[in-house]
Structures are given as C-alpha cells and as structure tokens.
C-alpha cells in the first residue's frame, strides 16, 4: 500500500512528537489544570466534595488561621526576593563585571564561584544548619577572633533566622548570576567598549551607560529566575528550620505552608486538598503575573545593537 505524501508526513510528525507530548500533557498540563479545578471544591481527605467556587481562596485571604499563616509566609517570600535581588544579584553583577575585565586570577575565580551551585540544596542546607547551630562552627569562629558577643542562635531567633537561611542560599547561588552576567558582558562587541574608552569615558560611565543597557535581557532573566526561586523556597527551610518554619513560623514560606496544607497539619492535622490547591493556584498566578510584568518592563528598556 502506498500512502499519500501528506499522510506520510503527518504520521512521521505524530511519531516524533507524540511520546514527549503525552508525558508533558499527563504530568505537567493535566496537573496544572486539575490544580485550578480542585481548588474550586471542598474536599474530605482525598475525596472531592461539593463545588464551593472561590470559597477556598476566600478562606486563605480572609479567615483565621489560614489568613495569618498565608500572609506571614508571603511576607517571608517577599523578604527572600528583596534580599536576594539586593545582595546576591548585585554581588553577581559586580563579580561578573570584574571577571569580564579579566582581573588577575579571573579563571580561578570563575571556576571556584560555580562550585556551590552544583551542590544539592539539601546537602548545603544540612551542612550550614550544623555550622549555624549555637555550638556550631560560626559561633566558634566568632569566639576565636574575639567577637563572642556577636554569637547567637542563628537559626533559633525569630528576628534573624530567615536572613540566616537567605545568606546560606546566597552562598550557594551567587556564582550563577555572576557567570550569567559574565557571559552577557562578554557578548558585547569589543568595538563598542573600545570606542567608549577612546572617547575618554570613565569606568563607571562605561559600566552604567554601555554595559548595563546592553545586558538588560540577562538582568531580566536573573530577576525572573530569582522571583521563581523566591516563591518556591522549600528545601532550604525544610533542612534548616524544619517544615513548620520554626521558630514560631518566623521562617515559614508559601512552599512549606503549601506542603503542610497538602499533606496535613495546618490546624486539624489532616490534609486539606481544597485549601492546598488554592495555595498552589496562587503560587502559579504570582509566578506568572510577576514574571510577565518584569518581562514587559524590560522589553521597553532593551537596546538593540
């Protein structure tokens, strides 16, 4: 039997695309859609109950204890985003810029900065969790250099625990923005920079007037990745202060709250599928809207060469 050319082509396309498409549809698209669907029902354990519309969302936003827990966690995610942007990404920008200027030892720095990026968050979290204990290495070091009065329970005090965990995360991750910015700066055509230098531009001018506008796409990518990362903090909390975000929920995040809701213990100890799905949908919406916003802003600032 001879198949027509068009039919043959369609069969080949189906053959190539179908296996991947089925897996993506089943394990990404379907769960995405079902999250939204499930959030509109009340649930009794794993059994779907009646339609409640936006009832679950209303409980997250307006009803105790969900409201307090949710906004407390969301505030912490906000802290994660702000501190990471201000400290990690600015450090990354500075490091990336200096590496691109080929300062002495740049090859060594470049390779070394990326080491912690490869480690699992879980191993890094447990390692620093030990170091940050009251009897751990950090306090021992402070004692060694005579700064004992600064030693404290880094993960045990409500006011600093979140920042300690963020610091560990920055320790692990700062090499990533550094090398992304390095690659972006290295991609700027040399004559652009040479012309500026020949015109007598100072280093700060070169950086702010030429380099920064030309790496806006990289800045956007890093901002969006930081946003997604900050909304999805989970392992860091799990390994360093536990699933409850202790002390007293001060390190709780949407990720840990979501996990506790989905698998049991916000208030009754039972999984609450409806509320959990609603939190999942909120995570999706926040991720989507904020990323779209950043991309839209940066589109207008992008400079084409």
């Amino acid at each position: 039997m001879v198949l027509s050319k068009d039919l043959q082509k369609s069969l080949w396309i189906t053959f190539f695309v179908l296996p991947g498409l089925v897996i993506v549809a089943l394990f990404i698209l379907l769960p995405l859609f079902l999250s939204l669907f499930n959030s509109l029902f009340s649930w009794n354990q794993l059994i779907r109950g009646e339609w409640v519309g936006f009832g679950n969302f209303r409980r997250i936003f307006f009803t105790s204890p969900y409201r307090e827990r949710f906004f407390n966690a969301l505030r912490n995610n906000g802290k994660w985003f702000l501190v990471t942007m201000l400290v990690q990404n600015i450090l990354g920008l500075v490091f990336g810029y200096l590496l691109s200027r080929r300062i002495p030892g740049h090859g060594f720095f470049r390779r070394t900065f990326f080491i912690p990026v490869l480690f699992s968050i879980v191993a890094v979290g447990f390692l620093w969790g030990l170091y940050l204990k009251p009897n751990g290495l950090v306090n021992a070091f402070l004692k060694l250099v005579g700064l004992e009065e600064y030693s404290r329970a880094w993960l045990g005090e409500e006011s600093i625990a979140t920042f300690s965990i963020i610091a560990v995360n920055i320790w692990r991750w700062v090499g990533f923005p550094s090398l992304v910015f390095l690659a972006a700066i290295d991609a700027i055509p040399l004559d652009c920079l040479e012309a500026a230098y020949l015109d007598g531009a100072r280093e700060t001018q070169v950086f702010s007037r030429i380099v920064l506008p030309l790496i806006v796409p990289a800045l956007t990518v890093i901002t969006v990745l930081t946003l997604i990362g900050s909304l999805n903090v989970f392992e860091q909390i799990y390994t360093m202060t536990g699933l409850d975000g202790s002390p007293n929920y001060s390190t709780d995040t949407i990720g840990t709250l979501f996990y506790r809701t989905a698998f049991g213990s916000v208030d009754s100890g039972n999984p609450e599928i409806g509320i959990g799905s609603a939190i999942g949908v909120v995570i999706y919406l926040l991720t989507f809207l904020a990323s779209a916003g950043f991309i839209a802003i940066s589109r207008r600032r992008e400079v084409e060469l």
Binding site: L34, W128, V180
Partner: protein
C-alpha cells in the same frame, strides 16, 4: 576583552575600588573552601572533638565513619538509586526531547507553533505547586513508592527546556543535508538518527548537564513519592539520615561529605562543561 581595568595606574581611586572588590572575591573563595574543608576534617573526628576543637585536626582519624555511613547506613544504596533514576530519566528526556524537537523544527505544519507552546508552558511554572493532582495521579496509576513515579515526573520536568534548547539548535541545521540524504533514499527516521542527531551533539551535551544536575539533586518529588528506605535517592536518604542521627555530628559530616564530594570532583574534572550547561537556559 583587551581593554583592561588594570591599565590605568594613574587612577588611584579606581585601583582602590578594584582592590576592595578583589578582596571581597577572595573572602568568598575562602567562604567556599573552608566550610568544605572543615566538613571533611570534621567527618574524621569524634563528635566530642568537633565541639571541643572545631578548627583543629583529629587526633586519631575516624576512617571507619565512611564505612559505617556507606555500608551500614545504606548510602551505597541511596547513591545507586540516584544514579539509576537520573540515568533512566535523562535517557528518555534526551530521546523524547530530541524526537519532539526534530518533529517541531524540521517539519512545517499548522499546529507546530501551538504544540511548541504546549511544551514550553512547563518551562517557567514550577511543577511543585501541582503536587496535589500529581499525588492523586501517581496514586491512581499505582506508582506510589516506585522509582517509575519520579522518573516519569523528571522526564516531564526535563522536556520543556530540552525542546526549547534543542529545537532552536536543530533549526540551524542546513536543509541541504536533509535533501541530499532524501535523494540517497533515507527515511525520516534515519535522517533524524543519522544526520540531525550527530550534528546536535554539542547541544545534547548542554541539555544533559542542564537537566541531570537538578534531577540528581531533586528532593521534593522523591520526598513525596518514595517511602521505602531501600528506594530512596541520595538527598532524601541524607534527610532521613539527619533525622535519625541528629546528635552524632561525626557521622553527619561523613554523610555530607559522601553526598557532596563526588559532585565536587566531577565538577573539577570538567568545570567549563558544567558552567556552560547550567547557564544554558539563561544565556543564549
């Protein structure tokens, strides 16, 4: 880049700024190496020594710690499970991902852009947030507490970025190669496997690193889907080990060293490859 920050000794201010930043980078390097060094040294001390003498060397090296953790505490099994899960997931990510990229980039048809977008929809949105329906799905498929559950999820997680990177690359493969092969009587399948795939090896290498590292390190999905100790992957095994031996710091540091050092060694052997692979999604 030949214009160099160093080439202006007249500017003392610039040199000072440079010195400060250089120093900062040096501090960060020390902050990377010392904790890792201390981890390995601590793993060879007794717990009492770790507390009494945190910066010194062990009086007698507790080499047996590694034996205890690797064999008795089952780290060899966690390690093997991680290897198996990562290898199988990656094999299918590469196979299905390259096939889909080939289908989407080398044929022109009406639905191709829509299908491309469907694949890409998973690239930005975190799959973790859909854990509840995934949990119900895995349960109803009878895959709870089996490696297949996380393997399928890892394949799904890897496909969007793979299709994004590979289809971009495959579009650049000249059509003439394909026409020539077709005249020689090659089928579509052999054009894919004998022509486009061999040409795509550099992109395939990038995609492999880009996906294999996060899969190897993933904690969330095995935490939810794997309960039996003998099936646990390294991060989850490490986590339950930390729960059980929380006061035996000597063993904890040995466990951490076993979890961290292999990755460090692999990285030192092929660091450029890792750097390019891991930043592949963000750098175009």
């Amino acid at each position: 880049m030949n214009t160099d920050l160093r080439y202006s000794p007249s500017h003392w201010g610039k040199n000072l700024v440079l010195l400060v930043f250089h120093l900062l980078m040096g501090v960060y390097v020390a902050l990377i190496f010392y904790p890792l060094f201390n981890m390995v040294v601590s793993s060879l001390k007794t717990t009492r020594e770790i507390f009494q003498n945190p910066f010194g060397f062990p009086r007698t090296f507790q080499w047996q710690n590694y034996w205890v953790v690797w064999v008795e505490k089952g780290f060899y099994r966690y390690f093997g499970n991680s290897l198996w899960v990562t290898a199988v997931s990656m094999a299918f990510v590469l196979l299905f991902g390259s096939m889909a990229s080939y289908g989407l980039s080398r044929y022109s048809f009406r639905l191709s852009f829509l299908l491309y977008l469907l694949f890409l929809s998973g690239i930005m949105l975190p799959l973790k947030a859909a854990i509840i329906p995934l949990f119900i799905l895995v349960k109803s498929l009878g895959l709870m507490d089996r490696h297949l559950s996380i393997i399928l999820i890892f394949i799904a997680m890897g496909l969007p970025s793979t299709v994004f990177i590979l289809s971009g690359f495959m579009k650049t493969v000249p059509k003439e190669l394909e026409y020539a092969a077709r005249i020689d009587g090659c089928s579509d399948l052999s054009i894919y496997s004998r022509i486009v795939m061999p040409v795509s090896v550099p992109a395939l290498a990038l995609v492999t690193i880009y996906n294999a590292v996060p899969i190897w390190n993933d904690f969330f999905f095995p935490l939810v889907f794997i309960q039996s100790d003998r099936l646990k992957t390294l991060p989850v095994g490490l986590s339950s080990f930390f729960g059980q031996y929380s006061t035996n710091w000597s063993l904890l540091f040995s466990g951490l060293s076993i979890a961290i050092l292999p990755m460090l060694i692999l990285y030192l052997l092929m660091s450029n490859y890792f750097i390019r692979g891991m930043t592949a999604g963000a750098v175009k």
